[in-house]
Amino acid sequence: MTFRTKLFWVFTIALLLSVGAIVAGVTIVSRQAFEESNRQHSEALVAQFEDEFQRRGQDVVHRVQGIADAEGTVRMAIELSRPKADVSVYVNDARGVSQSHQLDILDFVASDGAIISSNEWPARFGYKMDWLTQTADWASTGSFLMRVDTQDGPALGLMSVSTVRVGDRDLYILGGERLGKDFLNSLVLPAGMRALLYLDLQPNFDATNLVDTAGPVMDGDRLGPFIEQERQNPVPQTFRISWAASDPSSAEGFHALPLLGRQKELLGVLLIGSSQREVVLLERRIRDLALGAVALGLFFGLMLSWWGAARVTHPVQKLAEGAREVSEGNWSARVNVRGPNEIGQLASAFNRMTTQLGEQREQLVQAERVAAWRELARRLAHELKNPLFPLQTTVENLQRAKDHSPDQFEDVFRESTGILLSEIENLKTIVGRFSDFAKMPQPELGPVQVNDVVRAVVKLFESQLGAVGRPPITPELHLEENLPVIQADATLLRRAIENLVLNAMDAMPAGGVLMLRTTHQDDSIDIEISDTGGGLTPEECDRLFTPYYTTKQHGTGLGLAIVQSVVSDHGGRISVESETGVGTSFHIRLPIKPASPPVAAHPIHQAPDPVPAEPQTAPAPEMSESSESPASEGT
């Protein structure tokens, strides 16, 4: 994952968390506000209901008192006070009076408690209501809730009792309003709210007793547990119910008010329901708006994050690109980042660093070149000085012989010319070697079986390995069978291996084991040539492949340079491992098929350069930190 992507995700997550926190906060706060508003609304409605209930009670009291004060009632009371009064005359009176006074429940009751006339249950005449006669002062009682038996079954009534006293007899007028759907219909409720009435007329919850303005409540069973709870603890309570589990807007909050009778017995429960639909829909709208804002914010946030990440990482990317170029050898790489911030300062520092590194590298190259030319001059001087000295002495002998021994001049001349020719030939050989290195030919690729090349080299040196008069060197071949054929120049490859074998033989003056091993990887083959000589020092290993560098008395310092040149021209790599007193191993890795055409060999004047001027054309040798023994220069 790139730095830009990471930064983008960090920005995005931070943005998401921020937006999520804001949305959650807004949702929670709005919900709390709605719930508080709803609660206040419900409480206001409950208070309104209680006021309405009281007002209705007063109204019932007034109407019943109105009946008691009516002329007809007084006349009835007078008639009933007479001995052997015929009460049957009044059996149907309650119906008409109740209609005219708009009362659902009306009973005329004689002083003995017997019903004279009943509106809610006309057939119940003659039956006793003893409880009416047991209260002395009905006038101060006011209205009260009562369970009333009607023709259709038990009902809940908001009742009042008035009396008309004639002589020592009372005529009781029991009147009231039936609490049911008509009563609920008369309540003024704001939109979204409703009133339910449960008539607590059976020992167990019966959903048919739960009514609203339209009659029995649908799914009334769902409210059963709350009614039971109210029945066990008849105090005002609140609860919330969700009518459809999958639809939050179906939720409804309820205020439950116990309806108590004169003896504080529970007669019913009034439920003020407040639909949460509007609240839920409002919350949903707010949430949708918030989500829309979140989506929009996220979109722009992501764009901003992407832009910000790009803006922040762009100079870093440039720096990384510059560092990569530097690592690939482009010492002239510069980062074009400006600005007063840390990134700008870092870019400036980077540019200064690469400038300084380039300058130091140039100085190092110059120093290396000077050192190489000095080494070359030293080697040339050394190589040329050896034949020049005999030439000088021979010429001096010739001059001396002509001056002092003319008779022997002929012999001396003959002998001296022979020496001169020999030394001149020697000089030509030396010059030829240098010329050969300078004229390293371009490899001509063809199918080559490396094992065959290795075997041929070993066979070439077989006689020398076991020559009389020198300690024996035992060749060991570990050649992998079925080694694939590679594309290479067989002649150059053989020349390189010969050089390495010669070096190994030179490294083992006391004899030893010469091991040659071939293996192959997926797309390359490895050639290892090891000796059991004295090994090399790390410093020697570092300069081993430098042209004209040698540790031998008669070496030109070109052998391993030629080997490296051949390996490089084949697209391969060479490395050396050496341990003092144990031996040295050269590892060559050649591609089965060179990826690119062989590059031209270095001109001789560039060979001493230990730091390649063109890194892509000549892989740098890999050398271990340990070991080294003087490597032979076979040519």
Binding site: S88, V89, V91, W121, P122, A123, R124, F125, G126, Y127, Q151
Partner: protein, 380 residues
């Protein structure tokens, strides 16, 4: 003294003159149109054509007794229409009928020239019309008789001629157990029905025939026995609740049914009331039985005709000249099964206009004696 004698003579003369005028007013006079209102709607006056509506059937019978002179042994009219005291002058089916006095009626011409019969007037309208004087004659429900009198309507009630009974439906599990039927019968406060619902126009019924018919009605108990009913009911385990059917158009039946429901509840019996319809399934129902004959055996035969064999009343084996004891025995046997539970006897109650004179309530099985009624001339 002389002056006193003159004054006394004058007073006597005035009194005699007033008495003469009073005698003149009691003397029947011919003429006038008697305005009759009935609740039934008669669609046909053909006596052969039967109708399922008992009210229409009864009204046809009453009118038939004015049109026909004779009856067959089975009670149907004989001869031709118009052979009776009146003949049809105008006929609007289902609305109005005008009868004109038959001048050549062998029993003598009716006092009134015509009778206008307006059909389809409900009881409340009939009472109002009687009170306002726009109707001269109408039959009114017994339970309204008291109020009609209070409104100034002249009321004439016959002897009990109608029996209200509870008839159990056969094949219903609720009424299978005789103890259940007896418990129900004993729990009913018949006196309260008479006193309150019928406003004292009627009598509690324990047997099938009224006291005037066979003279044995007093032998049947009518008092409520709630304790006994409760005890009986408690002996029946798991008896299903009962449904009592009543005629939707009969407010009296409805009131009686609702009262019975209250009474039986005291005995622990669960009884609901419902209007009789084709879809309703009731275990027992209220039936009003008109006594069609003053002869006890024939009256019982009429009950059998109305109730059917399910009543358990065996009349066929009863001789035509059965004694009162035999009839009582048969009556008792029937009542003791409690398949038919007598409740109350009802009189036939008539409202009369102020100008109607010489009205006599008909006996059981007799039609309205309107031919004998005459109308007093209204003072100008």
């Amino acid at each position: 003294m002389k002056l006193r004698s003159y004054l006394l003579l004058a007073a006597i003369s005035v009194l005699l003159l007033g008495a003469g005028r009073a005698e003149t007013s009691r003397r029947p006079r011919y003429g006038g149109t008697l305005r009759v209102e009935i609740g039934a709607v008669i669609h046909s006056l053909d006596p052969v054509e039967s109708t399922p509506d008992p009210e229409e059937s009864a009204a046809k019978d009453e009118i038939g007794s004015l049109l026909y002179d004779q009856r067959n042994p089975d009670g149907s009219f004989a001869g031709v229409a118009g052979s009776g005291a009146f003949h049809i002058a105008q006929w609007e089916s289902g609305k109005r009928l005008t009868l004109a006095a038959n001048e050549s009626y062998r029993g003598g011409r009716a006092f009134v020239d015509a009778i206008e019969i307006e059909m389809g007037r409900d009881a409340k309208d009939r009472l109002v019309d009687l009170a306002l004087g726009t109707a001269d004659f109408a039959e009114i429900p017994p339970e309204e008789a008291r109020h009609a009198g209070e409104r100034g309507v002249r009321v004439s009630a016959s002897k009990p001629q109608e029996l209200v009974v509870l008839a159990f439906t056969t094949g219903r599990a609720a009424g299978d157990d005789v103890r259940a039927r007896e418990a129900l019968s004993r729990s009913i406060d018949r006196a309260a029905i008479v006193n309150f619902i019928l406003q004292r126009e009627g009598e509690p019924a324990g047997g099938l025939l009224p006291q005037w018919s066979n003279g044995t009605a007093f032998l049947f108990p009518t008092a409520a026995d709630t304790v006994g009913a409760k005890e009986l009911w408690s002996q029946i385990a798991g008896s299903p609740p009962m449904a009592l059917g009543y005629d939707s158009g009969d407010s009296l039946e409805q009131a009686i049914a609702e009262r019975i429901a209250v009474n039986v509840r005291d005995a622990g019996i669960t009884l609901s009331t419902e209007v009789i319809s084709q879809a309703s399934k009731y275990d027992l129902r209220l039936v009003r039985l008109r006594i069609k004959s003053s002869r006890p055996r024939d009256a019982l035969a009429g009950f059998v005709e109305s109730l059917g064999p399910a009543s358990g009343l065996d009349i066929a084996s009863l001789p035509a000249n059965a004694s009162a004891e035999q009839i009582y025995g048969r009556e008792r046997d029937t009542v003791s099964t409690y398949r038919v539970v007598p409740l109350v006897w009802l009189p036939r109650v008539y409202g009369l206009g102020s100008r109607v004179r010489d009205w006599k309530s008909p006996d059981a099985g007799e039609g309205w004696p309107l031919a004998d009624v005459w109308l007093e001339q209204e003072s100008q």
